[in-house]
Amino acid sequence: MGNPALSFVAIELLTGLATAAVLFLVSCGLSLIFGVTRIVNFAHGSFYMLGAYIAYSLVSRAGGPVGFWGGLLLASAAVGLIGVAMEVFVLRRLYGGPELFPLLATFGVVLVVEDAVLAIWGPQDLLGPRAPGLKGAIEVFGHRFPSYELFLIALGVGVAGGLWLLVHRTRWGTLVRAATQDWEMVGALGVRQATLFTGVFFVGAFLAGLGGAVQLPLEAADHQMDLSIIIEAFVVVVVGGMGSIAGAFLASVIIGELQTFGILVFPKLTLVLIFVVMAVVLVIRPQGLLGRPQPEAGMNRAVEVGTGAGFQVPAVLLYTLCALVLAVPLVSGNYGRVVLTEVATLSLFAASLYFMMGPGGLVSFGHAAYFGLGAYGVALLVAKLGWGMAAALAAAGVLAGVGALVFGWFCVRLSGVYFAMLTLAFAQMVWAAAVQWDALTGGDNGVLGVWPAPWAGNKLVFCYLALGLCGGCVALLRRVLRAPFGYTLRAGRDSALRCDAIGIDVRRHQWLAFSLAGLFAGISGGLYALSKGGVFPTVMSVSRSIDAIVMVLLGGLETMAGSPVGAAVFTGLREQIGSLTDYWRAVVGAIIIALVIAFPRGIVGFIGARAARLAQGGR
């Protein structure tokens, strides 16, 4: 090829394909697992990370080509077995329950694995040795191209072919495809699903581990690699179509190339770009490029647990509890006031998510976006434009509400997992903007100097301010749920079809609920920024969205009173455990896993059920 511009493009294409190859190794397993088990496996990024770290240990110990290639394979096999362990010891107990629970359990595994990696391999980045025999570069179109990346491309294509044969030419693959369509019928024909699911987890985890292991000579293993790859893999799976391996292949190539060329064309927009693609695909073709439309049901079932009970917290109890909480800042020191302020803001954040998730049946994976919009809104108005505190808080609520109004319009067109993924995509866009738009947001350095008005500068006063404002907002949300709007929302969740038939516009109600939830999340985010004195992009990271879901589930989905309880327990636990051990994430992860297995109705739901049983004079 004589033309230098063309050959440059060709080289970049190859680089993009190498990226795509690793992305495919991770996402095809994620897609396979989702297709067969209907589990959105957050731990897939952890498998990838474990693959890299285990491979590092094996490869740096044993030298030579055998040591290197053997080490990579052995590491992948080890990760495969870890995947099997997760399926057998955790997920198997959750099949047949609400669809959200296995997903949360896998997020618990993410936290546990993060701390396990920290404990075993330490905090530093680890770069593996170069691949023996593939250290050099070869001439392609007049440019030198690393031969290891060519190997990655070949590996990606080889795995795709091998997987195709496995799925289309073996009995196991036939069962997998049948189970993807109707696993219950496969069971009625005498196939033990648990064994099939275990096998699928082995294959998926093995491939993710392989993806991490082969990445080692290119990029150092670090502690963020799990979340960064899982988000990319989600994008690939959603764009390609959940459960479709060919779709994962196609989408990996698209996303890989987009990243490579994106850096060249829009260096400031790389992070946003892939989420824009995902959002566009979800809106135009929700089932993905090569996916098949999924039957309804899905994540709305998350809410099934206990909503029939219609359990109410007695008013006396509620007021006593409020009075007790209000007395705490008087007697506690400043530390207690700071913690209580955080509990108050997170209570409102959790309650706003409950508002759409419980009665609305809308499980959002991106609620942190609105928290973050509020936090950044207040921070910028106060620190950069010198606005007063009250005006800034109000404006932050409006900003987050408008954000939710815009994103919500798209999101409520989808349901279940697809809804969750679209909310995640929008949240990641907002997060990426905060990271990359440093002229406005300060990038990773964040915005500092965000302090409350002088009269509220005292910790005691600010604590009461937070309690009052959050308490008022939660009460307001609760009031809305008792109004006809709340009942319509519940009816839409329980039977969207029937509501449509009697002329209720379910979607419009959901849209409104989404926007209101965003508005109140924005207020809580604004208060949070004021209480901390600044904001960083982490205020709207994925883990904050998941924290919110965990708080809501801790409290239970039966009553809004549960969410503040969940927020209090969650914050309290984190503070307590954080003061005892550096590994608080692992403990929180273990708690999440225990929670979904043992207390699927949440704390308040559990107590409520006990109380109801006692009242009936039963056991």
Binding site: R177, Q181, A188, L189, V191
Partner: protein
């Protein structure tokens, strides 16, 4: 062979089956007759384990199978053909049969792909075709064939005649008789009385989840006025 006693099944709060009793002896074709919503499908699903009865007893060869998961019930030798057929439309005919294939079982007719195609010649002609491209009657045959590949001793057939043309229905009846002559025991849910009369040895009339009447096909025919109301729409 199969004996059901005091079976009660709920969907949520709705009480669907009340104290249901059934006896099925080896080699019989027993028909569950009832109109739409009577509880026929629920009875079969309770036996195979797709729904969990709240109480009662289900015994197969004297062994209690209530509460077992469907795969375990199926492995004991009970084959289930659902009313909705639930064909794997993403798979070919051969692959559908492969999903159903289980090892041979002593005391039950053994099936191979060749024997299946001898019983259903038109399936043999379209063995590589995607199941999505088949007519309703062909899909029904495939659903039966797929379950037979598991070499069951007892076959639970849910309304195989539903939505099929009269000619295909009589082919289905012939098939059931052939299966019987192979030594298979069959429980058939039906609301089509003509079809039931063609194949059944005995029948139970079920209404609102209760058995209202039972007897041999000839007894029932003689006694029609006393139970016909339960079938009328």
């Amino acid at each position: 062979m199969l004996s059901v006693r005091g079976l009660n099944t709920f969907y949520g709060q709705a009480h669907i089956l009340s104290d249901l009793e059934l006896e099925v002896a080896r080699g019989e074709v027993v028909v569950l007759l009832g109109r739409n919503g009577a509880g026929k499908s629920t009875t079969l699903k309770s036996v195979i384990g797709l729904v969990r009865p709240v109480c009662g007893e289900i015994r197969f060869h004297g062994r209690s199978i209530r509460g077992l998961p469907p795969y375990a019930v199926s492995r004991l030798g009970i084959g289930y053909v659902p009313e909705e057929r639930r064909i794997f439309t993403e798979l070919t005919v051969m692959e559908n049969l492969e999903v159903g294939r289980r090892p041979a079982r002593p005391g039950a007719p053994g099936w191979t792909v060749d024997r299946i195609f001898a019983l259903f010649p038109n399936l043999g002609e379209m063995r590589w075709r995607g199941a999505a491209m088949m007519s309703g009657g062909e899909q029904q045959m495939l659903a039966v064939a797929r379950t037979l590949m598991g070499n069951p001793a007892l076959l639970l057939l849910d309304e195989p005649s539903e939505g099929l043309a009269p000619l295909i229905v009589s082919r289905m009846a012939q098939m059931v008789r052939e299966l019987k002559s192979e030594g298979l025991t069959v429980v058939l849910a039906e609301q089509n009385l003509r079809f039931a009369a063609l194949v059944g040895d005995r029948a139970y009339v079920i209404e609102k989840g209760r058995i209202r009447h039972s007897g041999t096909m000839t007894q029932l025919a003689a006694d029609e006025p006393s139970w016909a109301a339960y079938l009328a729409v």
